[in-house]
Subunit: 352 residues, 2 copies
Amino acid sequence: MNAESRRVKAAELQAFITRAFVAIGISAPEAASIAELMTRADVNGSDGHGVFRLPQYIRRIKGGAVNIKPAIRIEREAPGMALVDGDNGMGHLVMRFAAEKAIEKAKSAGTAWVGVKASNHAGPASLYASMPIEHDMIGLYLAVGNANHLAAWGGLDMLLSTNPIAVGIPAGAEPAIVLDMATTVAAYGKVKTAAQRGETMPEGWMIDRQGQPLTDPKRANEGLLLPIGGYKGYGLALIFGLLAGTLNGAAMGRDVVDFNNDDTTATNTGHVIVAINVAMFRELGEFKASVDQLVRDIRNSKRLPGVEAVRLPGEQSHAKRDAHTRLGIPMPAPLLQSLAALAAELKIAPLA
Amino acid sequence: MNAESRRVKAAELQAFITRAFVAIGISAPEAASIAELMTRADVNGSDGHGVFRLPQYIRRIKGGAVNIKPAIRIEREAPGMALVDGDNGMGHLVMRFAAEKAIEKAKSAGTAWVGVKASNHAGPASLYASMPIEHDMIGLYLAVGNANHLAAWGGLDMLLSTNPIAVGIPAGAEPAIVLDMATTVAAYGKVKTAAQRGETMPEGWMIDRQGQPLTDPKRANEGLLLPIGGYKGYGLALIFGLLAGTLNGAAMGRDVVDFNNDDTTATNTGHVIVAINVAMFRELGEFKASVDQLVRDIRNSKRLPGVEAVRLPGEQSHAKRDAHTRLGIPMPAPLLQSLAALAAELKIAPLA
């Protein structure tokens, strides 16, 4: 089955993803909901967390690791918080439910902290941190990653994942600020991409079990990812994991399931989404004007020699969204081939 | 005036700090409250943020930069949030008020996010992140630092401070986990200490305005601190500043006052304290057992060659607290001399 790299319109991609999930037994509205979020990831340029993951998601559903008919529900609730039980459903459905709940609660409570357990991989963190922005709220998202590639600082036992943080901040005339980052120097997806391409990794991404730099990505399973800022990034990965995992009764530490190498075990993935209602703190127009001013001060900064532009978090994603919406999403040949194979396997119409 | 380095009992130190603040016009109960927190900082080993700061605090009060009779109050409130107006009072008073408010609100709301404006330097972040722990709550603290030593990634304009994060997590039989970190590789206090001692800084702490490593701490004012993880730490410093500063109508970016070089201008310092009521999310005993398990898994990890111990955030501070409580707080000669000079200036009894 051959395919050449080409651009695919977002609507075509979304329709294809929907077909795949319907074929595997997910209800049409839920399939469309997941597909919309996965497509949004690709449109935003988060290409390691969009349709690229579809074959793995389908494989894990077929393996029985994920519940295709989840009863997602609020298990506990108070004015400023909720705990969502995802019933082992697709993470996108669970997190959309949780983010909507946080936004709803923050309307009256001012701020709402919604913890999630029994969820699954939900795509890029920025998707959920951005949801409150449309409601003039700040979004803050934390998660426990679905594989441990990190040890405590100085240790060798892989007890931590690349636990990410994402924060979305509404602006006025300027685009929203959206930070989305793993607490490691490199996300594990970057290592896998380097291996695929036969590239060498820079020093600082990984170490081997002697503490020496590991630069051959094909040997990644012998090594450890390095946290940002040494012991500081270890501290952040640990704390984000405690907040997104342990607090919610979700997997953390030794209980984290490596979902890359397992198609049958529920991950019990934990997340947190916090919605912060800006107008409760400060007159909304003033806040937005302050953010705009800061964005402009940063963008117009004097620059270090050789630096082309000083950027805001999310700026490159905004640019990709514009281009991908206009021109379609660039899809490399190996990805198109794996999606064609998936279509054949599921007996659905291939990607148009 | 000479003095030799020696250990000072916490009670003596606290009494001395109280005398100093009473002498400058702060009411006795408020002076005692500030002194208790500053002493706690020294007892915990946060020696750059304890009594070391007293001469500067007194100087800024004398200069009119800080209000000694603040009317600290809730300006806005909803079930899950509050905005505290510190009325330009000492940061310790303002933050104690804010943390108590967050804890009180989290009892019923489950989680409470309390923003603070018109505050001042409040000592180490860990003090406030730890307060909810005694109530079986998690504490999360963010602040805007009181001097900009950091640029946006690739930029030269110093628009950002070392904006710290601190998180306190209650455990069961194990000591609580307390993370307290600046978003830069080195806090500016470390640079000042290196300069005092005539030491060279390691590469990676600072760069000069050409982007080259700056290792002479005496030239620190020509350079920029580096964030952890490059653009990622820049993103964290920016986001923490937006949450602790901009959201609350406190100083951020170009509006931050360098309180090291200014004794007359109010800083309008912003902070955030979030209290998260663990029992609202999960049975408290189960949570604590999970934290204990994780702590032990980390502590008992296999170690990289040459590594003596794998530590939890806050572990070294716990050890110092034990030693300092038993033996007194070690105080270097230059600090004792500056406190003796302060006692003479304020006409109060010197440190016993």
